[in-house]
Symmetry: C4
Subunit: 208 residues, 4 copies
Amino acid sequence: MPTWYNRIAGQSLERLAALSDGIFAVAMTILVLDIHAPAAHAVHNENDLWLALCSLAPRLLVYLMSFMTLGIFWIGQQTQFNQLSQSDRHLTWIHIAFLALVSIMPFSTSFLAEFIGFRLALLLYWANILLLGLILDVSWRYADHSGLVQDSSHEVRCAIERRILIAQSLYAFGAFLCIFNTYWGIGFIVLVQLNYAIAPRFRPFSRL
Amino acid sequence: MPTWYNRIAGQSLERLAALSDGIFAVAMTILVLDIHAPAAHAVHNENDLWLALCSLAPRLLVYLMSFMTLGIFWIGQQTQFNQLSQSDRHLTWIHIAFLALVSIMPFSTSFLAEFIGFRLALLLYWANILLLGLILDVSWRYADHSGLVQDSSHEVRCAIERRILIAQSLYAFGAFLCIFNTYWGIGFIVLVQLNYAIAPRFRPFSRL
Amino acid sequence: MPTWYNRIAGQSLERLAALSDGIFAVAMTILVLDIHAPAAHAVHNENDLWLALCSLAPRLLVYLMSFMTLGIFWIGQQTQFNQLSQSDRHLTWIHIAFLALVSIMPFSTSFLAEFIGFRLALLLYWANILLLGLILDVSWRYADHSGLVQDSSHEVRCAIERRILIAQSLYAFGAFLCIFNTYWGIGFIVLVQLNYAIAPRFRPFSRL
Amino acid sequence: MPTWYNRIAGQSLERLAALSDGIFAVAMTILVLDIHAPAAHAVHNENDLWLALCSLAPRLLVYLMSFMTLGIFWIGQQTQFNQLSQSDRHLTWIHIAFLALVSIMPFSTSFLAEFIGFRLALLLYWANILLLGLILDVSWRYADHSGLVQDSSHEVRCAIERRILIAQSLYAFGAFLCIFNTYWGIGFIVLVQLNYAIAPRFRPFSRL
């Protein structure tokens, strides 16, 4: 039967996790290649070097934001995988599309760092985040309907879908802020990410 | 006995899979290094930036095609490995040759993106795909004859060989189309790849 | 309950270890991209080539120092992980911060190699090392208090904390030496690292 | 007791193998970054492109030689690891030194490709291979004397040591040939490597 190949292809969740870790690792490290040491001929004393270092600060901020973005989505993917019992060829391809968006993140980041005052740059960056969230949602719904999820409670299923929905609403609001000023939008997105990374217990956001 | 070393070398299928995941991950992420943000001095307003972004579209398309190519061959290799019980030194070297062709894919891609109207560039890209398929076929035949395959049914064995044969015939037809126009060839190859990635159930191709 | 997501996120110690290995591997290999072969047009005979190679020596030294730094912190992280039974979302984020500092090490290294006579460059490099040590300490204290550590003896717990404290004191002394001369500071740090790498049994330092 | 840390550090053979796979994967893929597509403005027709592609051939040959070199040493390290029951901090540091030499291989390769007619470039390349072999030998002797090797037969132990000795003698002879002509030396080394990769059964070399 010709459909045999599709039944045996892409079964290994371990290999898919290993490829994902590799692509996340390379993408996260490549981000820094965009931060160059200042040109030596323009630096004559410690003070010059200090000023040159300070001028790298905005680029460093964008780098840290992207590192956090990738960290959030790496944890999001890992959390789903921990609930799955195995993979199949469709889920594998859903995650290859997810990884394509991960590997394009260094480009979106460098584009935003270069044109930080332009609305289009922030919208492109947000589109990258939106698509990452969308594919994670598709992946979870597909896995749930295809019986790939091991016996998770109803709470776990809801928690994963709710997290994606709320996070994406906040990101969309951040992108919407660029109508007024791109810096407000970037600042809001960084705050949302910091909240997710630190998950402080004493603030209302921690419950999201 | 001097042949002892060859009997104990390269036995670990896990290490071979880990090296493969690493090389695929790096090659897939390096593809994007070829897409550069436009020069800042040529951009004065949102409209300029939009036009500059649009001019990157063809390069982005070639990038996506290569990402899909590597995804297809990563799944192909993984599917074979899932059927194997262990490796030996010959199989390990067959897959190191396979990985050499994987790691040269970013060069073939950048060569095609730069000279997209030239027949030679498409033929080189196709030769890369052809050799990848050929080595996967050699690997399967070798593993089958050397008793490295665990008890797979006859259907599984046929499915893997048939998949390689049909896919390579379609790619060869795509390369043949470059006699008329390289864009036709590229378009046909992208369609074949999309069919394999999405594997739609309602189309006759899904049975390949 | 909204906190469900945080309870199921980032549990996998294996995935965290795999991401760490990937980021360390890429950061360690990217260091070398900073060492360029000399320009061909300036080399006319074997003697020219020898002089060009010698002029790369200081850069090679800084590269080796950073490779050792990353090796030391990779072992430090691994030693902690071997004592843990599992991870949670807070520990995962502590280590994502740790990995951000790892991935910025190639920048600190290239900055130091370019401005090797400047105090600021050495202080930045030291700040990178200091933060890496600080986060490892935070990670160990958090894991210890949250019951993530499997039944380790009291000696193991003390050994890990003492090692971080003594190593960081020595690095701080090396950074302090830059008041007199940056080369003394770099030399002292390299000696400390060599001591940790070789761990000679016949010298008093081996007991640290 | 201050030596406690050294007793618990670097025990995990799996983590060391994962770091090694990562560094080998990055080094093997970075090799290709040295091969650039020809400049578009110098190419006007298919014939120009063909000539430009042919002029890349020597660089491609050096790339393939280095890919094989890394493949040989990756198998060599893996073969040793398969015989070990666990690691310790000394063995871990021996292999971090090994990995430093792996990650510098792209530099040695690019240096040789740029100055292919210079004896010094070939000697540097050979020194890289020699040190890799030397450290593998030290690693095996250390593991053997420290009881890290699981119950291997006497034949296995001899086979590993003999393989390193014979291979390094052949490489040294290749380096010696550069007294007459560097191309003879490179050719001889490639032949030795092809013999190890293919391990033909009908030739006397296969018994090495």
